[in-house]
């Protein structure tokens, strides 16, 4: 009884314990791993994927997911770059246009899922391919420069307050905002209800389609925000820069403890998941000198996280 209770009580902290264990391990392998500098380094490294993961959380809790995030980030980034360099627009105008593009593409996803009734996997896989295609057409397969305002724009990634980069601050702020939306707004509660039992929600008169479309719009919006940081960091908009981002953002959510299938998850899960994957990524770079093995270990960690979660759910 006693040990069972202890384990049950520790279960909510499994993720944190795993994170601490990882840090200690990497710390023994590479002494500089556990240091303030490296902490800020990791936070900055996970910012882009973290921002995408904040967006991914909405469709995920709502019972779907968004595989088009990487393509949305790329296309939105290209739109911003072209407005800055080719059309001479100001930074605020370009940023707003980029974010609006992301939200619009998200609305396309949401409409396909909610109104046309296409399965989220198929719908967002289809749009992922199409959106990458549109990006290629739009950029003519060439990286696009940020033009004369490049230095100012790149502050988004390289500017900092204290040791916090703007990008990492943006990520942290969005996590807090996510917590507020999920915990305190009726919309947040509706997303859980939608993911928990869509039929019950529909029968109760909740506008499920509208909420579902909104979750995909938010996913697109935040993918575009991640795209902005991405082009600021690279100094150019490359049409292939966002390839695979959607899987990393999904992985962050899942490692953090958000289940596929909907109805559960919190902002804390996103933060935990993104940071854990960042720690693994940076830790492996510093401690293990075999770059080819890194994805293998990352994949195993994702599987391990999901397996632990599944076992915890099954054992009652």
């Amino acid at each position: 009884m006693g040990s069972g209770n202890l384990l049950a009580r520790l279960r909510p902290f499994t993720g944190v314990i795993a994170l601490v264990v990882l840090c200690v391990y990497f710390g023994t392998k590479a002494p500089t791993f556990v240091s303030p500098d490296n902490f800020f380094n990791i936070l900055n490294a996970v910012a882009i994927i973290g921002i995408l993961a904040v967006g991914q959380t909405f469709p995920l809790i709502g019972g779907g997911f968004d595989l088009s995030q990487g393509a949305v980030a790329s296309f939105s980034g290209a739109v911003v770059a072209s407005l800055l360099s080719k059309h001479g627009q100001s930074i605020p105008v370009a940023v707003i246009a980029g974010l609006a593009t992301g939200a619009f593409l998200g609305a396309v996803n949401g409409t396909l899922v909610a109104k046309v009734g296409i399965n989220p996997f198929v719908a967002t896989l289809g749009t992922q391919i199409a959106f990458f295609g549109i990006t290629n057409v739009y950029t003519d397969n060439q990286p696009m420069s940020l033009g004369t305002q490049s230095d100012a724009f790149r502050q988004l990634s390289f500017g900092h307050i204290g040791q916090f980069s703007y990008a990492s601050l943006l990520f942290l702020a969005l996590v807090v905002l996510l917590a507020v939306v999920l915990r305190l707004l009726p919309f947040g509660q509706y997303v859980y209800v939608l993911g928990g039992n869509e039929e019950a929600a529909r029968l109760a008169g909740i506008p499920t389609d509208r909420i579902k479309i909104t979750t995909y719009m938010l996913s697109g919006l935040l993918a575009a925000a991640g795209g902005l940081v991405m082009i600021a960091r690279a100094g150019q908009a490359s049409p292939v820069a966002g390839v695979g981002y959607e899987l990393q953002s999904l992985a962050s959510c899942i490692v953090g403890g958000i289940a596929l299938g909907g109805g559960v998850g919190s902002a804390w899960n996103v933060l935990l998941g993104a940071v854990t994957l960042g720690v693994v990524d940076v830790g492996l770079q510093m401690a293990v000198n075999k770059p080819n093995w890194r994805p293998v270990i990352q994949g195993l960690i994702i599987l391990l996280a999901v397996a632990v979660d599944a076992r915890a759910r099954a054992r009652r």
């Binding site: 509660q189 509706y190 859980y192 109760a204 008169g205």
Partner: protein, 497 residues
């Protein structure tokens, strides 16, 4: 000697004790009823027996030998078959394929490549069904069967795996009168074959009729085990809920204007239905499962389309274009199938009480968490929901307690018409009276109420008028003073049978 013995079984969830040392035994060839209020621990005990849950302490003894049951597979192997209310059948497959699923006779081509022989499956299933005397055709697809027939397929499947202990969980909940009689005959036949049956039901009449013994659980403990004839209904009820049940008097109600009426309403399942309900009135709608009551309720609420006919609210024709419209117009539905339509399983009790009405629980665009919590605490007390608190995940509550949350959620909202589809499904006697009182109170407040229920007693108990649906049509409608049970039964079954 006992066929099966459960000794001092204990189980806790998240530190809450659900079973504190329950014992139960079953003899070969007997029907041993297991009764108790919602949350008494019946389902948990059965899930431990079936291997779905692991026990914390206690012993399971089969044929005098300790049985180790760690998974549903173990239970099946040991000859324990559990027939749940929700069936585990593949609708697209035939009766034969469902019975033999996982046990298909295999032929080897060239002594190597195994292939399943359809002919052998069919032959084996036919032989099995014939030996059991079940009126089923082996080649029929399961999706075309009635609920009662599907149940027989489940029983045949369990027996084909040599089940000697059969657990029937609320087996009559979704059956029509004739199918209930047939099930009872089959239970008697199984008893003759020496099969022990654990029978779980909230219908005490059935318990009296078919069981050799009854064991009562309350709060996760044994209260009593009686032989047939050694107890009265009043004693049984008192043992179940720990107090005497008082059937509450209906408050004085005056009937007002007609608040909702249907004229020749036709949908996909119901045809040509005309009915009305007045303010302060309760219309009880009964009939066999699938006779169209649920669809009618849904149509009145705008959840399924109406093909023709007129719906009037307070005399004015209306046509619901969305579910929100009906809700805004003051028509609310409490759905019958709570798992599919009633609860959000991952959310807590508090959220399940409030999610349909969040506007009421927010200020300046923000949810008022404190008030939502306080409200949930009040409702938990008001409706007697057995849980550890507002934060308990609703999926971990017993079915009846979940139902109280669903009904309470609807009753707490203001409306002029309430549609209750099977409001007491899976609810124990004590709580059933509470739900009746609540429905009476809504009518007394001046609302029109329609209650769809397959239970004739309930219809007679609640209704100011009783209507019967058969095959999608209203075939009987009488004020309560003139409604009689035999007439209602005849209407449900129909003249030809």
């Amino acid at each position: 000697m006992s066929l099966l013995e459960l000794r001092e079984i204990q189980k806790s969830f998240h530190g809450t004790r659900v079973l504190s040392g329950v014992s139960f035994d079953l003899r070969a060839g007997e029907v041993h009823a297991l009764v108790g209020a919602n949350g008494a621990g019946k389902s948990t005990l059965i899930k431990i027996l079936s291997g779905a849950y692991l026990r914390d302490a206690g012993e399971i003894v089969l044929d005098g030998r300790p049985a180790s049951i760690h998974s549903p597979h173990d239970a099946l192997r040991l000859g324990i078959g559990v027939i749940y209310q929700e069936f585990n059948l593949v609708p697209e497959l035939t009766v034969a394929e469902n019975i033999l699923v996982g046990q298909e006779p295999v032929r080897r081509i060239g002594g190597l490549l195994p292939v399943i022989s359809r002919g052998a499956i069919l032959a084996e299933a036919r032989r099995h069904l014939e030996a059991l005397g079940f009126p089923l055709r082996a080649e029929q697809p399961v999706k075309s069967l009635t609920t009662g027939e599907k149940q027989l397929v489940e029983i045949a499947k369990a027996l084909h795996r040599n089940a000697r202990v059969l657990v029937l969980d609320e087996p009559t909940a979704a059956l029509a009168g004739g199918e209930i009689r047939r099930l009872f005959r089959i239970i008697a036949q199984l008893q003759e074959r020496g099969i022990g049956i654990i029978y779980i039901s909230h219908h005490l009449g059935e318990v009296f009729e078919i069981s050799n013994r009854v064991t009562v659980l309350r709060d996760g403990r044994n209260v009593a085990t009686w032989e047939r004839g050694a107890f009265s209904e009043a004693e049984l009820v008192q043992a179940m809920i720990g107090r005497k049940v008082e059937s509450g008097e209906r408050p004085e109600t005056t009937l007002g204007e007609t608040v909702l009426s249907a004229e020749a309403l036709t949908g996909s399942v119901f045809r040509n239905v005309s009915l009305q309900v007045r303010r302060g009135e309760i219309l009880a709608l009964t009939g066999a499962a699938g006779a169209g009551q649920t669809e009618l309720c849904w149509a009145l609420y705008g959840a399924v389309p109406v093909r023709s006919g007129t719906l009037r609210r307070q005399g004015k024709p209306v046509r619901w274009r969305s579910l929100r419209q009906a809700a805004r117009a003051g028509i609310l539905l409490s759905p019958g199938d709570r798992k599919a339509y009633g609860i959000i399983p991952q959310l807590d009790v508090s959220a399940n009480f409030t999610f349909t009405d969040l506007a009421r629980w927010s200020g300046a665009g923000l949810l008022r968490r404190g008030r939502i919590r306080k409200n949930a605490e009040a409702l938990i007390a008001k409706y007697g929901v057995r849980c550890t608190g507002p934060e308990q995940e609703i999926a971990s509550l017993s079915g009846g307690n979940q139902q109280k949350v669903v009904v309470g959620r609807v009753a707490e909202r203001n409306a002029s018409v309430y549609l209750f589809d099977e409001p007491t499904r899976g609810v124990d006697i004590g709580a059933r009276e509470d739900i009746y009182a609540l429905i009476h109170a809504l009518a007394a407040r001046g609302a029109g109420v329609i209650v769809a229920t397959p239970d004739i007693q309930e219809a007679l108990r609640l209704g100011d008028r009783v209507a019967v649906m058969r095959q999608g049509q209203v075939v009987y409608e009488e004020p309560i003073a003139r409604a009689t049970e035999p007439a209602i039964l005849a209407a449900i079954v129909g003249g030809s049978e």
